[in-house]
Amino acid sequence: MNFFVKIINDLQTYFEFPFVRYALIVGILISLCSSLLGVTLVLKRFSFIGDGLSHVAFGAMAIASVLKLTNNMPLILIITVLCAILLLRSGSRRKIKGDAAVAMISVGALAMGYLMLNVLNPSSNLTGDVCSTLFGSTSILTLTKTNVYICIVLSVLMLLFFVFFYNKIFAVTFDENFALATGTKANLYNLLIAVVVAVIIVLAMNLVGSLLISALVIFPALSAMRVFKSFKSVTICSAIFSVVCTTLGLLISIVAGTPVGSTIVAVDIVGFLGFYVAGLIKGGKKA
């Protein structure tokens, strides 16, 4: 009992710090956005694109470091969005297709980013910079006010996009050809989805680091799919799952002193296992 009282007291103390409250606000917004689009990405078999774009974002961050930019987010956003459009641009004229293109850009960006940091980085703490970018470290707890405001504005735009274009996203996700036949501009919506994914990847880099971003996109969607079947219910469940796991992971890492990104992903994994078992029980009852 004393243990829980101590944890609650610790949390009360920690919430007096503005950067903890900022982290919670940004964490909730990012997890909400990533989970909403995660369902679409998983269903369209684009899960790996999140991983590829996160490596591109790492490369862009390396360029920003070399250029000594105080606010690196705009540059990272532009480069990642351009790569997302390049990767998701559909069409039969492309010479390097699908997963090969993702793998090539992903590995290339990672390698070039690390090379630039090694050769041109003005900071003496190379290991720290790389580790912090790849695994998130405490990035979410060291956000500047500008970063927080950018995160809030971009998250609102993501949510508006999802709410306004819910039906179109639904149509493009399940049957692109049918959507095309009914007059929906599937290519345009695919492009918009690519842009939104890129923005979420850049935002999520602060939360869990570029190597762990895919977890935020995949786990909530896959967990919800174990229990629910309709697009709407999976999306809602995925959003709630993601926000709860991120909040729990963030609070655990703050109290226990564990790395933020990997703690959030660990909570996601536990949540997924719980939903997997719940899905088996639910399936068993139906049978």
Partner: protein
């Protein structure tokens, strides 16, 4: 209709979150120094030894980003002792208390200057140091350190 209600909700949610951010901004100084609840002069003491490693790293980062807000505060921290030598003047040695983040790949620290006559610890020794956060100028550059520090 549902779409517009959802849209309105999203806007309200975000507006309320933005409002929280603005309030916090005004309270930043009070908040960061107010966690020593047993002390009446809470605003003047920043005790980093009571925080988890993740929090210590984040708070030291805050001190590094906005050092002017911590000038005159008594800071108490625990970490490893690190030494630096002045390349122009080798007789000058600087001592710092270094802390690492949870992934153990990033580290930050604060320089400390002990009271006259006190003996400095050896390199990599685990130390707890308490001193007043202050700035000083050297070769035209402003540095920050804990002055009149004592080892606990």
């Amino acid at each position: 209709m549902k779409k517009y209600i959802a849209l309105l909700m999203a806007l309200l949610m975000v507006l309320s979150l933005s409002a929280c951010g603005k309030l916090e901004e005004e309270k930043v100084y009070e908040g960061t120094a107010s966690y020593d609840k047993n002390d009446d002069s809470i605003g003047d003491i920043v005790d980093l030894t009571k925080l988890s490693s993740t929090m210590v790293y984040s708070e030291v980062n805050q001190i590094m980003i906005t050092p002017e807000k911590y000038i005159g505060k008594t800071i108490k921290m625990a970490g490893k002792c690190a030494l630096y030598y002045n390349q122009q003047d080798e007789s000058k040695t600087y001592y710092s208390c270094i802390i690492s983040d949870a992934t153990a790949c990033c580290s930050q620290g604060i320089e400390f200057t002990l009271k006259e006559g006190d003996a400095y610890p050896d390199l990599n020794t685990d130390i707890t140091v308490e001193g007043t956060f202050a700035s000083y100028k050297e070769d035209g550059t402003t540095y920050y350190h804990l002055e009149n520090a004592k080892l606990l």
